[in-house]
């Protein structure tokens, strides 16, 4: 039984890893940034298709973001008011469920966007994200404030 449970967990982890990797692209509206578009060679047609994918996802993203924030607030209130353990546990699970839904919607949107790009464009986008992250780490080490570094690219 334990072996089955462990195998299931490993399977779920293996399935989740590529999804997490999909989401590893610059945050924000990167396809509207001239420097990003130039760097990955984004065409006008691709930009329009990606915008359409975002516009289709936007209402759900707004709803899910608001839902998550409301549940986070409820959890925060419960903890501040010393609510019972069971109540806090329920609210915590609600927060994590809401977060999962938001993450799922975001990742599926990115998967659709990936379908518009070539493999090279997608790889370059991920590289840019990694470079931005590296610059942020460098900025933190050097004591600098590197806010939203990926927005510079």
């Amino acid at each position: 039984m334990k072996i089955k449970t462990l195998a299931g967990a490993v399977f779920l982890l293996a399935a989740a890893l590529p999804i997490a990797a999909q989401a590893d692209v610059p945050d924000g509206k990167w396809w509207k940034r001239p420097r990003v578009a130039k760097e990955i060679g984004l065409t006008e047609d691709q930009s329009k298709k990606i915008e359409a994918i975002f516009v289709a996802s936007r209402p759900r993203l707004i709803d899910l973001k608001a839902d998550l924030e409301k549940k986070q607030f409820a959890l925060s209130q419960a903890m501040e008011n010393d609510a019972g353990r069971a109540d806090i546990e329920r609210k915590l699970e609600a927060v994590e469920d809401a977060r999962k839904e938001l993450q799922k919607t975001r990742v599926l949107m990115l998967v659709d966007m990936k379908g518009v790009l070539s493999a090279e464009q997608w790889d370059r986008l991920k590289q840019m994200r990694e470079q931005a992250r590296e610059r942020r780490r460098e900025g933190k080490r050097g004591g600098g404030a590197a806010s939203h570094p990926e927005s510079n690219r």
Binding site: A23, D27, G28, K29, K32, R33, P34, R35, F54, R58, L61, I62, L64, K65, L68, E69, Q72, F73, L75, S76, A78, M79, E80, L92, V95, E96, R99, L102, Q103, R106, E138, G139, R141, G142, G143, G144, A145, A146, S147, H148, P149, S151, N152
Partner: protein, 172 residues
């Protein structure tokens, strides 16, 4: 300037050969081809110069004042050792190199500040790349990414648990 000793190259000449002025080709004197002593001396000068140039700009930028002082002491010691094997004439150069190191140490904070100011200006420029509607969408996407990754301040623990990555003054 010291005079040549039995036709050997002076420290000034050796230093000039080890670190030629930018853009000028390194013309080796014919004496070097015949004199093993001057050849060795030149190698010592070159290795001292290489030691100074070994670090790249980025690692240099991260050095603390203490590290700079330690590097300065090491360089002075190395130059003193190299000089004492031949003659104590390299001290003026050691002082020059030490002064250059000190200058870099004092200039670095200014360079860092300038870089940070540039980054901040770039952020503003990046934000202005987008129209008002796009900027709102951009913020939505950033919030969604942050929340779905769990990077938000409220987080799972509702912000009541101290964040170990927070600044020292934020810790309990």
């Amino acid at each position: 300037m010291e005079k040549r000793d039995a036709g050997h190259l002076t420290d000034d000449e050796l230093f000039g050969l080890a670190l030629p002025p930018a853009g000028e080709p390194e013309a080796l004197p014919a004496h070097l081809l015949q004199c093993a002593r001057c050849g060795r001396a030149l190698q010592e000068w070159k290795s001292a110069v290489r030691e100074l140039a070994r670090d790249e700009v980025e690692p240099l930028a991260r050095r603390s004042s203490e590290e700079w002082r330690a590097a300065e002491d090491r360089t002075l010691e190395r130059i003193r050792r190299a000089g004492s094997r031949r003659a104590p004439r390299s001290l003026p150069w050691a002082v020059g190199v030490a002064a250059a190191l000190l200058l870099v140490a004092f200039l670095l904070p200014a360079v860092r500040n300038a870089r940070e100011r540039t980054a901040s200006v770039s952020d503003s420029a990046a934000a202005s790349e987008l129209s008002a509607a796009d900027a709102a969408d951009d913020q939505l996407l950033r919030d969604v990414a942050r929340l779905s990754r769990g990077d938000d301040d409220a987080g799972v623990a509702g912000g009541l648990v101290p964040d170990p990555s927070a600044d020292a003054e934020d810790r309990l």
